[in-house]
Symmetry: C2
Subunit: 397 residues, 2 copies
């Protein structure tokens, strides 16, 4: 894989570039659309092409449960199985180790607001995960069986799935994990990264895509020394790019600091992916700190829940269920070129959402993903034009 850096903002760490994969190019900064089970929910591959999506990310945990990595491999890998023949990434299942483990126990996300003096909540759910040195046992959400995820096993599955960029097994820690646990988990993740890289080298002849590349994942929670150490260790291992995972602290400011500690320690010529982050503000703040790629389920999930992205609204969010829109003949967003705004009114989308019509989910998803694609295009244009990306400029304010 080649990564060409093409333009830099002289006043920030923002940069544009192109990642060249065996299945096409990705212009960065890029938004990677989430296709957990080999499809972006409610969309087809023709839809994705039409709205300018460049690259998808599937989830190894979910795909191993159903339909199985062997089956996808036998059918030509994700590119052939899903009919999306552009660039693919696969996540390793490390995030599920978190969301089904500490996430389940604490009911917590990657950023957990706790006010000074507050206690960390006690566990309230049951962990579906057991982490050991050899790997992780994860309980299947389908049939309750325990599945063993090891660094080597995950690489083999990802070889069969055949994505262009794959991620090794890591342990994604929670904002509620203490420094001691976060350190031990990070060190284990480093050992797993070595094992994954070794397994990656040994499995070049497995699966449909001999041109696969692997990114390393930096951990270390919201601790400066740990993040710097993890970035130096993972950065020195020979990965083709880097993803920043795990706890990003307790606020957006914590998250921005994590990026400021991590990115300077990584090899500057390789792409940097921020895992699971995707609000407009976070994307812009991360780009100016040097992030090249994002993936996030929020734009598509919000669409399905009735929240449409719109620059004119507070927080860029329009809640289509609101009775305000019953008779509103305007498109979701004036000037939007998505297939939904070209044809449909807020009033009709309100009607479809209220009725639970299946048509709604696709139209809403098309709009929100197109919004993200346009946001990234504008970010790239701003950087190329020598301007530092900022939300008001990007959103026409």
């Amino acid at each position: 894989m080649e990564f060409r850096i093409e333009a830099r903002d002289p006043r920030s760490e923002a940069r544009t570039g192109t990642i060249i994969t065996a299945h096409g190019r990705v212009e960065t900064p890029a938004f990677v659309a989430v296709a957990t089970r080999a499809t972006v929910k409610a969309l087809s591959v023709d839809d994705l092409r039409e709205i300018g999506v460049q690259i998808l990310i599937g989830n190894t945990y979910h795909l191993v449960l159903r339909p199985g990595a062997e089956l996808v491999g036998d059918l030509g890998g994700l590119h052939h199985f899903s009919a999306w023949d552009g660039p693919w990434m696969t996540d390793s299942g490390g995030f599920q180790v978190f969301s089904l483990g500490a996430g389940m126990e604490h009911g917590v996300g990657k950023i957990a607001p706790i006010f000074p003096g507050e206690e960390i909540p006690r566990p309230k759910g049951e962990s579906l995960v057991r982490v050991e040195e050899e790997g992780v046992w994860v309980k299947s959400l389908l049939d309750g069986s325990w599945i063993h995820f090891t660094p080597e096993g995950v690489i083999r599955w990802e070889r069969l799935l055949g994505a262009d960029i794959i991620l090794p097994l890591d342990e994604c820690t929670s904002p509620f994990h203490d420094r001691d646990y976060t350190t031990r988990a990070m060190e284990r993740t480093h050992r797993w990264a070595e094992r994954a890289l070794a397994a990656f080298e040994k499995t070049r002849d497995i699966g449909p895509n001999p041109h696969q590349k692997i990114f390393g994942i930096v951990q270390g929670g919201a601790y400066e020394d740990l993040r710097r150490r993890s970035a130096r260790v993972i950065g020195g291992m020979g990965f083709s790019g880097f993803a920043i995972g795990g706890s990003l602290g307790r606020s957006k400011e914590d998250m921005y600091r994590v990026l400021e500690w991590t990115i300077p320690e990584l090899p500057p010529e390789r792409p940097r992916h921020l895992l699971g982050i995707g609000t407009v503000g976070d994307i812009v703040e991360s780009v100016v700190r040097g992030i090249d790629m994002f993936d996030c389920a929020a734009p598509t999930r919000m669409a399905r829940n009735g929240t449409l992205l719109c620059v004119e609204e507070e927080g860029f969010r329009l809640h289509i269920k609101s009775a305000h829109f019953r008779r509103d003949g305007r498109p979701i967003e004036e000037g939007c070129d998505c297939p939904t705004c070209r044809r449909y009114s807020r009033a009709f989308l309100h009607h479809l959402f209220r009725c639970g019509e299946l048509t709604y989910y696709r139209l809403a998803t098309l709009h929100n993903l197109r919004f993200m694609v346009r946001l990234m295009t504008r970010i790239r244009h701003a950087i190329r034009a020598g301007r530092t990306p900022s939300p008001p400029e990007l959103l026409g304010g």
Copy 2:
């Protein structure tokens, strides 16, 4: 509205023609896609254009409940509200009088098989309908309130909805209704037809579409004399076309006889629509008896339930849930030109269906509706070529 008959099969009553509406032409025999709540479930208007759908039918009962006929009228009628600017029909709600009335009581459809000597089942559900001379009270499925459907009120709602072809309120009887009840219901439907026509003439200035036309509905159950009488009465009233509604007896043979009694009594130069029928065999058998238009929810509903139309399979049906398709890399149907068959394998559709992925519903619906569109195209080609349509020829057998 103009209806031009263009070709006739010399050996049957089959014919081709063109219905010219204010929103475009419909080549007949035609399949009218069901868009109960102003959308074909899971599809967009661009999808409908792409697969060659000519005309949609909305449902006055459902649209009056939500979002309301006044609102649709204020927003420019169905054409503007839904963004489908091609031809529209609206059903009157008469079928709901049946399905929520006798249909609920008896758990019965329009064709009810009863073997000789069997008793008609006793009522098992509660009727949500009260039929009176003035009109029908129908219980809302949304909030339990009773809504009054009168011949005049329904015409006013349909004027506001603005479809190109509208249907008057009728009483759709059940195969379990006896001759006496069927006669009285038919006579009442005739009186309602007169009232609807009078109301239609008086409301030319209401709603967005002054070019609306109205079809009469023939009733009379599975009784030869009643069907002939109803066809003559309704046929003499000055409607622009005719729909055949109500009970079609207890078998397909009963249904074909109903058509053979009814059609010769109708003015031959006007279009004939068979309400709610849409299997491949029934369509072909009805076309050769002189039917010009069909609507049926089955192809789209079957798609959502995992049943895909396919000429190669028994009964033309492929059940995508079957484990047979897990590794089947072929399209649903070899040679099908639908957007789904052009891109996707049975294996991927099986995976999407098993996962309950929203993407599945659209892809399956696109295929099944395209199957119906192609079936109708082949029927028209056969008639124009001087051949009598028959399933083996139409389906490439």
